[in-house]
């Protein structure tokens, strides 16, 4: 259906793709596999008309094509779900779905009704139960991702490219997506599927293509491959998947949270968080599991001193009762948070690594009023080395780092404040298997050094592998607590399902 | 009884082109003060040099029941419709300082800028002995006073081939711009003999530039308006001459006319030019800011 011959692409000197060849047959799901930065997204952008300055040929239905812009590719029948969400925040779902290809009435005005009906049908198919005229900004990230998927399905495309479509959606939504992909395959469409969650690939893909450093390494049938085979092909060597081997240490309570409640602004009836109580021990990794919207991120935010006006809680840190009025208070008291969305909440993308690392702790180096650049640099070097941040220099702009390395910069920023409690919210989202592994290693090391660690994650295997103890949340309440030894996927999920369904 | 009293009380609107220039502030406040002495309520409207805003003021003033308008127009032509509108509403308009090209104004008491500049030019020619290089600083290029003054000046000066204008630049009637433009002109033309500025603020700015360049002693500065600073500067022999307008006379005459109108007088001289007088070191002691002693 769609093929690429000898495709190369450079970004101001950096070679992103180097002589790529691949084939995407109709009626098949092809998985593209590769580490962060292998060139997967770049290749897909070429196929879908985002970049038109590349070397080599794209062959579509037997003839050579060169799409000048996304619309040309769309019209030819190639749809793409981009890795980054590309939605307009203040337009509604319908408006986003039809953006650039609005339905019009005979006199040229928008046919809003027709669009809404079509959008509603599509949302129903995707089991997204929100009205079609909801503003995107009011949706959760997972729901936005579903809209992004709907956008690609709106028209009868021949080729559908999905670049990490599941990075923010939960299990049940993934199942729906599988169903849709199966349908597409039946309709003899060519589907491209990119994901760092290897399990998904085994479930859904027919073929695989491995990219490494911008080159095609290998391709073949998915059938008969194992986890380790794939990882080996991706990374070029074997890696050991970390499992937490901490054994029960003495239990010194580090953080104690009693009756934590978080109200909703302008609404006195409903609470977002209800009577949360838990303890965190020194040197412990406490996993917090839950489905989308369970309130885990809000819990982390409250513990960092956000929403002080809406919070009621008794928090004891290191045997002292503390009250946080702002993030500044919380950080000074020894809390630190690696937020869920590193680009939006964790980093100043336009500034360099060094500045980002020292952002929360610059006071340490400014006792004279002026910043001691030497000390700052030493610190930056220390963390770049300690966390194995892959960069050419501490002056690299954070925007240009890979996702995994960006995540490490956020962790470095938190560690630089010398925290007692380190909270990590979905620390491995969108990160390749190798980088994930490094972050797991890091978390274990930090726990071993005496920090209390709270890790929020939606990925069961991850939370099972790394935690000493697991709390489960649903609908703003604590619904379960499990020691690592007797936690299973089953009982975690059971506790996470909301009772009100 | 109180009520009939307040019904009797007439209100006078004073609409001035701008309050961003002390000359007009003085004009407006003098008119307001006179109206008060005569027993009328009055209010000052600032058109901010914006003819459209002036139109709004007229509409608002008419709607608000003002009985007369003392008017300092932003523009001789642009303000015509406003005067017509007032006439239609039966509100007499007395123009101050600037003319309006309309017979509908009840009376127009104005400074004769053109002939004022002619007499200023006479002094200019004499002071320079009919030869030398000079610089002209224009006011706002979109203001018709700028051109009335410039034309009056050139109508005489241009007859003397020995007088050469080496630069003509605008400084927007602004003291700071007068200073900066003059500083730059002095770079290009270090050897000048005189500066003619379209108002005193620019003249004072130009003088300061000359001081900074060490040329204040032999470059003659001429202004226009009769502002306080300029009168003082003429006394101190810093500025050579200015043309004195009489905002006080103008404003008071206008207010008196309104008073007379209320009392039944209808035959006003359509145009009453108030002479602009030349002020030099010789006669400066007869003058104070904006008027005669």
């Amino acid at each position: 259906m769609l093929a690429a011959h000898h495709i190369s692409k450079k970004f101001s000197g950096v070679t992103a793709l180097d002589d790529i060849n691949l084939e995407l047959p109709a009626g098949n799901v092809t998985a593209i596999i590769g580490e962060n930065g292998a060139g997967k997204s770049t290749l897909m952008k070429i196929l879908s008309g985002v970049y038109d300055d590349y070397e080599g040929d794209v062959i579509y239905k037997g003839s050579k094509v060169r799409f000048k812009n996304p619309r040309e590719a769309q019209n030819a029948g190639i749809a793409i779900i981009h890795q980054e969400l590309n939605l307009i925040p203040y337009l509604s779902i319908t408006e986003n779905l039809f953006l650039g290809r609005e339905l019009k009435s005979p006199i040229g005005f928008l046919d809003k009704k027709a669009m809404r009906l079509k959008a509603e049908a599509l949302l129903q198919k995707l089991k997204l139960s929100v009205p079609a005229d909801t503003i995107i900004a009011d949706l959760k990230v997972g729901q936005q991702q579903v809209v992004e998927i709907a956008k690609a399905l709106l028209y009868d495309a021949e080729v559908i490219i999905m670049d990490e479509p599941t990075s923010a959606i939960s299990e049940s939504e993934v199942e729906i997506l599988y169903g849709i992909i199966t349908d597409l395959r039946k309709e003899n469409k060519a589907v491209v599927y990119i994901s760092h969650k290897l399990n998904e690939l085994f479930k859904i893909a027919d073929n695989y293509i491995v990219l490494r450093d911008g080159r095609t390494i290998e391709s073949g049938k998915m059938k008969g491959m194992t986890h380790d085979d794939i990882i080996h092909k991706m990374v070029g060597r074997d890696i050991d998947i970390i499992r937490n081997t901490n054994i029960a240490k003495e239990k010194n309570v580090l953080l104690k949270v009693d009756n934590l409640c978080l109200g909703k602004a302008g609404n006195t009836q409903k609470n977002i968080l209800n009577n949360i109580c838990f303890e965190l021990y020194k040197g412990e990794i406490l996993g917090i599991f839950g489905l989308m919207g369970a309130g885990r991120t809000e819990l982390m935010e409250v513990l960092l001193g956000l929403h002080p006006d809406l919070t009621k809680a008794t928090i004891t840190l290191d045997k002292n009762i503390v009250r946080f009025k702002s993030a500044k208070d919380a950080i000074q008291a020894g809390m630190a948070l690696v937020p869920e969305d590193r680009k939006k909440d964790g980093l100043i993308l336009g500034l360099d690594i060094k500045t980002n690392i020292s952002l929360s702790s610059i006071d340490q180096h400014a006792s004279t009023g002026l910043i001691d650049r030497g000390a700052e640099l030493t610190k930056a070097h220390h963390y770049i080395k300690a966390l194995r941040i892959k960069t050419t220099s501490e002056k690299q702009t954070v925007k240009n780092l890979s996702g995994g390395n960006q995540q490490k910069v956020v962790i470095a920023k938190c560690l630089a404040t010398k925290p007692k409690v380190l909270m990590l919210d979905e620390p491995t989202r969108g990160i390749d298997i190798n980088a994930k592994n490094e972050i797991y290693k890091l978390i274990s090391e930090l726990a071993a050094s005496g920090l209390g660690i709270i890790m929020v994650s939606s990925e069961l295997p991850e939370i099972l592998a790394i935690s000493d103890r697991i709390l489960v949340m649903a609908e703003g309440c604590m619904t379960g607590e499990f020691e690592a030894a007797n936690a299973t996927e089953d009982n975690l999920l059971k506790a996470a399902i909301p009772k009100t369904i | 009884q109180n009520r009939s009293d307040s019904a009797m009380q007439k209100k006078i609107a004073i609409i001035v082109s701008t309050l961003n220039n002390p000359w007009f502030v003085f004009l407006a406040q003098t008119a307001a003060a006179r109206a008060k002495t005569l027993g009328y309520e009055s209010k000052i409207f600032d058109s901010q040099n914006n003819t459209a805003l002036e139109t709004d003021h007229f509409e608002n003033a008419i709607a608000d029941g003002y009985n007369a308008i003392l008017f300092n127009p932003t523009d001789a032509n642009g303000s015509v419709v406003n005067v017509q509108k007032a006439k239609k509403a039966g509100v007499p308009v007395f123009c101050m300082d600037r003319e309006v090209n309309s017979p509908d104004a009840t009376s127009q008491i104005f400074s004769d800028s053109y002939s004022g500049c002619v007499s200023l030019a006479k002094d200019f020619v004499q002071t320079l002995n009919k030869k030398g290089n000079y610089v002209e600083l224009l006011g706002l290029v979109a203001d018709n006073n700028t051109w009335a003054r410039s034309k009056g000046f050139h109508s005489l000066v241009d007859y003397y081939p020995g007088l050469k204008m080496v630069a003509q630049q605008s400084a927007d009637f602004d003291r700071n711009k007068g200073l900066e433009v003059m500083e730059s002109i002095l770079q290009a033309h270090p050897n000048i003999d005189a500066v003619f500025a379209g108002n005193d603020a620019m003249a004072m700015g130009a003088y300061q530039a000359l001081v900074a360049a060490g040329k204040a002693d032999h470059v003659k500065v001429f202004g226009f308006d009769g502002a306080e600073d300029a009168i003082q500067a003429i006394k101190d022999k810093k500025v050579s001459a200015t043309a004195m307008q009489f905002p006080k006379v103008i404003a008071q005459t206008a207010a008196d006319d309104a008073d007379a109108y209320f009392k039944g007088k209808r035959d006003f001289p359509k145009k009453l030019p108030v002479a602009v007088e030349l002020v030099t070191y010789d006669n400066v002691n007869d003058y104070i800011a904006y008027g005669k002693k």
Binding site: P70, P89, L99 | A52
Partner: protein, 324 residues
Amino acid sequence: MILSQYRSHLVKFQSLIALVLLCIGIGLLSDKFFTVDNGWNVMRQISVNICISVGMTLVVLTGGIDLSVGSVLAIGGAIAAGLLKFGIEIPSGNLYIGFTLLGSILGGLAIGSLLGLFNGWTITKFKVPPFVATLAMLTIARGLTMLYTKGFPISNLGDSFAYIGTGWFIGIPVPVWISAIVVVVAIIITQKTALGRYIYAIGGNEHASKLSGINISKVKIIVYGIAGMLAAIGGIIITSRLDSAQPNAGMSYELDAIAAVVIGGTSLSGGRGTIMGTVLGALIIGVLNNGLVLLNVSPFWQQVVKGGVILLAVIIDKANSKND
């Protein structure tokens, strides 16, 4: 969901509260305020600002800004007046082209649109920030106006031209008709056409819009062109009201226009806002100007009070739409 709908209504009408409070306040202090005459007064006075602000709203919705509207207003009015009165004379060829009323108006609109399109062109083609491109145009268009008029107003344009700014039609002043038509057309564009969608989309997320196949440059150029044309309409109204094209007309009108847009709840970073909001913003400013005069506030105090009230109006808005 209900919350979100409610909120979008709030965004639309958030300034209404401030406007109502303002009107009540002035009405209590002056019995002249709530009269039919004064109502038309205010409406006529804001008609020019509405034309400009509507164009500004479109520009701001795309995430841009247009500082040149005041100057473009001046040249639009001047060209229309000049064409009507003098036509075009080409001395060398001994050619003279006269213009009808309509022709001269179209001429004024054409020059406004052209300068607006030029703004859009420099902004999209050379990636000049809108602030700089239109700031340059502010100066250029003012200079061109001076060159065309030689610094003198063009007056006495005849009764039929005067009708545009001073006439009445079915009991409503003509400028109010014009601004109402502008508002309605703009609402249709923003709410009912693909162009409107694209305007919001570009302001919301330019990159995503590009990936959706929207021709960003085209939309932006059109929008700046519309803003230029609307400024020229404003210029023609002013010229007609005054029966005179003033070379310095419209100075610093851009600030009033932007104020109307922002007070009306449109975000300066683009993507959010409504035409009706801007109309409310313009009304607030207009009512305030009118009220300060009616209440006989001294001119020096007026500025202080005006600034204070605008600040207060926005604070009230914010307090009432805090739930987002």
